[in-house]
């Protein structure tokens, strides 16, 4: 069957932290096809030109859930949508996490925590490390707690542990057979190194500015052992051993 852009209906909207919106849309086909780590490409409105990539956070029957922070014009426009409004969404897109039957660490930083929720649901008792800048930005704690042990860090120590998630991960690394991660580049770099040191598998989800979102334009590349790979098509999740972080 041919894929298509879906006109979905916003049925629930919540501001779960300052400038952070939790959207539930009716999108049966996307919800059914989605797997953890995949993303959608969203037309935010008339005021922006390109679509915006957003991770799939969760699905429940016909409902697709995604969470985004206002970062610029597109996300600001999207945040204006009200319940009952329609949203044009392409997806699910990309390759998500490859689920292995191993003792899993989920590591998320900032907006990188959102794609991990659906993943947590599919794993057996994962340890979930969530990092935030500060207490006010802490979100989804309760959602994640249903699926595993949650260890929260804040950069300023205002909630949970003080410091970066990576420190907590390091302390418990002996219990880990596989890492699934999404977040800022320095975090992913550190995890990649850690995983390599310990010889464990590590899957990381990457971000890059996108055009088409479907692999047709070669805008969204990252450097891998193969050259420049398209994040929207080969990723967004890569095996950390493939990815080359250079500057």
């Amino acid at each position: 069957m041919l894929k298509k852009a879906h006109i979905t209906k916003l049925i629930k909207k919540e501001e779960i932290a300052k400038d952070t919106f939790d959207f539930y849309v009716e999108a049966p086909q996307i919800a059914k096809a989605a797997s953890p780590g995949q993303f959608i490409h969203v037309k935010c409105g008339d005021g922006t030109f390109l679509r915006r990539p957003i991770s799939i956070c969760d699905t429940e029957g016909d409902i697709l859930r995604f969470i985004f922070q206002i970062r610029g014009k597109g996300t600001a426009e999207l945040a204006q949508k009200e319940v009952g409004d329609y949203i044009d969404i392409l997806g699910p897109l990309g390759q998500g996490f490859k689920i292995k039957d191993k003792k899993a660490f989920l590591v998320g930083g900032g907006i990188g925590i959102y794609p991990l929720l659906m993943l947590a649901k599919k794993l057996k008792d994962p340890k979930i490390f969530l990092g935030f800048r500060t207490k006010d930005l802490v979100t989804l704690e309760e959602d994640f707690k249903k699926w595993g042990q949650v260890i929260i860090s804040t950069d300023d120590g205002s909630y949970g542990r003080k410091g970066f998630s990576i420190d907590a991960v390091k302390e418990m690394i002996d219990e880990c057979e596989i890492i699934y991660a999404c977040g800022p580049i320095p975090m992913l770099k550190a995890l990649k190194n850690l995983a390599e040191d310990r010889g464990i598998e590590c899957q990381i989800s990457l971000e890059q500015r996108m055009g088409c979102g479907v692999g047709a334009c070669l805008s969204c590349v990252c450097k891998t052992v193969r050259g420049y790979d398209k994040i929207c098509q080969r990723g967004p999740v890569f095996d950390s051993s493939e990815v080359i972080f250079d500057d």
Binding site: L2, K3, K4, A5, K43, T48, F49, L50, R51, G74, L90, Q208, R209, M210, G211, C212, G213, V214, G215, A216, C217, L218, S219, C220, V221, C222, K223, G227, Y228, Q233
Partner: protein, 303 residues
């Protein structure tokens, strides 16, 4: 009965709509969104003689009603294309236009020679890529250079040769004429217009390559004007492109002088843009009782 088919350089196109180079990869991605058999033609991603890595990311930036890109011609090279990509897309009943870019005239000639022996239907020579250091755009901004490269490549090119022109010029008419007089069978225009964006918070250009090519609706009026001007000065047919988002836009290009129209950036927003453009042209023709799409070409009644 509405006739949508077009004879372009002796090749039959079932309709005047082609995908442009660089926004459609080798076709298969958008082949998941619509039946590629519906297209007049597919222009594949720009090819170079050897595989090319392309520019480091970020490679794309949004601008008002448009985008900047600086892909830098990432591609597997002409041989890998013929081996891995062409057989896949040759299965579809549509014309394949190979798009080539070189660092030297010799490379263009070499590619034209190789592709002339292949299953592609037409060859589009890109002398207007703004995103590579050597070659690319500098071949396309001086009529003398255009004359030279066209006449040389023409010797090796056994398929219809389309010369793709740069909009970064003062006098598109002179460039168009130089291409025609030296053997071009057709022209395509426009390629992207060189642009730049700076992130005012980091003070860094958004594109890692500093500058990139502007495409999308923002450039449509410039593209329409250039197609119109080129049409005034040459008699070879033209593929018009630059910001086409819908059938009405395509009709505007045809009225300005285009025989075929190319859909590029639009696909990023609407993955079925190419076929929606075909439908839109059809609707326009029905509304205006036009039987033959060819009658649109150059139909503008200028003051």
């Amino acid at each position: 009965m509405t006739n949508l088919s077009v004879n372009f350089c002796g090749v039959n196109f079932k309709n005047p709509v082609v995908s442009v180079s660089g926004t459609f990869n080798f076709g298969l991605e958008y082949g998941m969104y619509f039946d590629l058999n519906q297209l007049g033609g597919i222009t594949v991603k720009g090819l170079t003689l050897k595989p090319r890595l392309g520019n480091p990311p970020p490679r794309i930036a949004e601008t008002p009603c448009g985008i900047l890109n600086s892909i830098g011609l990432q591609n597997p090279g002409v041989e890998a294309f013929l081996k891995n990509e062409l057989p896949m897309i040759r299965k579809y009943n549509t014309n394949i236009i190979a798009n080539i870019a070189g660092n030297t005239i010799e490379e263009y000639c070499e590619m034209a020679k190789i592709l002339s022996e292949s299953g592609v239907d037409l060859i589009e020579m890109n002398i207007s890529c703004p995103n590579v250091k050597e070659g690319g755009v500098h071949f396309g901004t001086d009529p003398k250079m255009v004359a030279k490269i066209t006449s040389k490549v023409k010797k090796y090119c056994k398929k219809p040769l389309i010369v793709k022109l740069s909009p970064n010029v003062s006098d598109i008419k002179a460039i168009a004429k130089a291409a025609e007089e030296n053997g071009a069978d057709a022209l395509s225009l426009i390629n992207t217009i060189l642009g730049m964006r700076i992130d005012i918070n980091t003070k860094r250009p958004i594109l890692r390559n500093n500058v990139g090519g502007l495409s999308g609706p923002a450039i449509k009026p410039v593209a329409v004007r250039m197609v119109y001007e080129a049409k005034q000065s040459v008699s070879i047919p033209i593929i018009g492109m630059g910001g086409i988002m819908c059938g009405d836009d395509a009709v505007e290009f045809m009225l300005a002088g285009a025989t075929l129209v190319g859909v590029g950036t639009a696909s990023f927003i609407n993955p079925t843009a190419c076929v929606d453009v075909i439908d839109g042209i059809k609707k326009y023709m029905e509304k205006h009782n036009i039987n033959d799409v060819n009658s649109l070409t150059g139909g503008v009644i200028a003051y």
